[in-house]
């Protein structure tokens, strides 16, 4: 199979289409603004396009680097975009229909999914069996949604959100570092896969770690920056309130 050819994960064509339809229906009674629509649509496109394109071909047949890029996009970038695309009423409706776990439960679930799906046995099995690859991607997307829900749904105070993000950033970083510092390939599948772009299996893995680390740093820094800005704004408001009381 040529690296430029398309490979599909049908489940991730059907699910984004269904989510898009549900969103459009909900939007009839509760019109989201332009930014929310764009955010939701970008989240859907990221999921559908990264799993149904030449990216999928390269990830599933050639390079770990591209597989890790795919995982980073669907686990770290798409979920917050999807959740940010929901209006408060949509979120309230989702909150009543689904038992979203609390932050202290969501974080360990997300970490277990993050490290568990990248464990050598599972990863090789998923790549060889095909359908399990869809399971792997489904787990990553679901875990990403669970992780970002407490932040987007306003279930955490600003200070707690910062602590939650800090804990997530630190505890998830070890996987990327393990890839960066590895001197032997972790996944047998990629050792025997045809090589692309002159990358050896170990260099492919090292680069994948770098990409994963850089992507996570960028996503978490944006989120931490947002909550820091909110913390400063809250302090400004409370100071203004105090000075009004003094007057």
């Amino acid at each position: 199979m040529s690296p430029g050819s398309f490979t599909f994960e049908p489940a991730f064509l059907v699910l984004p289409a269904a989510a898009g339809l549900a969103y459009a229906r909900a939007a009839r009674g509760d019109a989201p603004g332009r930014w929310r629509c764009a955010s939701f649509a970008t989240g859907l496109v990221l999921v559908a396009a990264s799993l149904n394109s030449p990216l999928e071909t390269i990830a599933a047949h050639y390079l770990l680097l591209i597989h890790l890029l795919q995982n980073a996009l669907i686990a770290d970038v798409a979920p917050p975009l999807l959740l940010l695309g929901l209006t408060p009423r949509m979120r309230a409706s989702l909150a009543t229909r689904f038992p979203w776990p609390r932050a202290r439960v969501a974080l360990p679930i997300w970490l277990a999914a993050w490290y568990g799906t990248h464990a050598a046995g599972f990863y090789d099995w998923a790549l060889r069996s095909g359908w399990a690859l869809e399971l792997e991607h489904g787990i990553l997307i679901a875990a990403g949604l669970l992780f970002w829900w407490p932040l987007v749904a306003g279930r955490l105070s600003t200070a707690a959100a910062l602590g939650y993000l800090g804990a997530g950033f630190v505890t998830s970083a070890f996987l990327g570092l393990a890839y960066i510092f590895s001197t032997r390939a972790f996944y047998g599948f990629y050792v025997h896969a045809p090589r692309l772009w002159g990358l050896s299996p170990v260099r492919d893995q090292n680069l994948g770690g770098i990409l994963m680390n850089a992507e996570q740093t960028a996503v978490f820094f944006v989120a931490i920056g947002f909550f820091l800005w909110r913390l400063l704004e809250e302090e400004g408001l409370s100071q203004a309130g105090e000075s009004r009381e003094v007057r």
């Binding site: 105070s157 600003t158 200070a159 707690a160 910062l162 602590g163 800090g166 630190v170 570092l177 960066i180 510092f181 090292n206 770098i210 680390n213 850089a214 740093t217 820094f221 931490i224 920056g225 820091l228 913390l231 400063l232 809250e234 302090e235 100071q239």
Partner: protein, 255 residues
């Protein structure tokens, strides 16, 4: 030799402040925990500059050199300022010296200038960037005087930013949010260097060719991780300490 003399002087100043406060019956502001913290700060700096770490840093491993820098430029100032916070800080200098300093206009103006968060952040980042330029880094390894200057810059840049973060004098130049934001900004700035070191596949510092089974590139990547881990530990601890009361308060409101 110079660092040992400075450390002895600083230890003597702390001892006299500690004794003076306790003699005034204010052991609550000069507890043994403070003495232990200050001793730990001095010990960290001295171990970094005189122990086996110094030999490793000068001759063998970039990662050891990075550890040395973060100990003297980050961990030691942080611990020292935490130990000094409150009245101890004002007793640190003998009264005549403190009075003379307070009356000297240019010193006060300089300290006020350095105490501006943007100035402190810029100085710290500049120090970090400049001393990691490979040519300068290698030159410092060849010239002991330049190397001493490099270490003095690390220590002073650390003192400037950690004074804002710990706020030992209670000046409240920054709110809690401002301090957490400064900590995040310092981490982000440090992360730039960390990423350069961790993500490069070629050695950047010719003076280090790898040792103890580590290749030059692995040693360099390890140096990046050392910096990130140390910053996470020090700045992360600070953020937790600052944010915890807020998290508890928010929980109490929602409970």
């Amino acid at each position: 030799m110079i660092p040992a003399v400075v450390a002895a002087l600083v230890a003597a100043l702390f001892a006299q402040a500690f004794v003076r406060l306790r003699r005034r019956g204010r052991a609550d502001h000069a507890g043994w925990d403070r003495a232990a913290l200050f001793a730990a700060a001095l010990a960290l700096a001295l171990v970094a500059l005189y122990g086996p770490l110094d030999r490793l840093a000068e001759h063998d491993l970039l990662s050891a050199h990075m550890l040395q820098h973060v100990l003297i430029g980050d961990a030691a100032p942080a611990l020292g300022l935490v130990a000094l916070r409150g009245p101890l800080l004002f007793f640190f200098l003998p009264a005549p010296a403190l009075g003379a300093l307070a009356r000297t206009g240019w010193i006060r103006a300089t300290l006020r200038f350095l105490g501006r968060p943007r100035v402190a952040f810029a100085l710290w980042s500049l120090n970090l960037g400049v001393w990691h330029v490979p040519a300068l880094y290698d030159a410092a390894l060849r010239h002991p005087a330049l190397h001493d200057l490099e270490h003095a810059c690390w220590l002073n840049a650390g003192i400037v930013v950690w004074t804002l973060l710990v706020d030992p004098a209670g000046h409240c130049r920054l709110s809690v949010g401002g301090r957490v934001a400064l900590a995040a900004a310092l981490f982000a700035a440090g992360q730039v260097l960390t990423d350069v070191l961790v993500f490069s596949f070629a050695p950047l510092y010719p003076a280090y060719a790898g040792a103890y089974g580590l290749s030059a590139v692995t040693d360099q990547q390890l140096a990046g991780v050392v910096m990130m881990a140390e910053q996470l530990l020090t700045l992360g601890t600070l953020a937790v300490v600052l944010l915890q009361p807020r998290i508890r308060a928010a929980r109490a409101v929602t409970a």
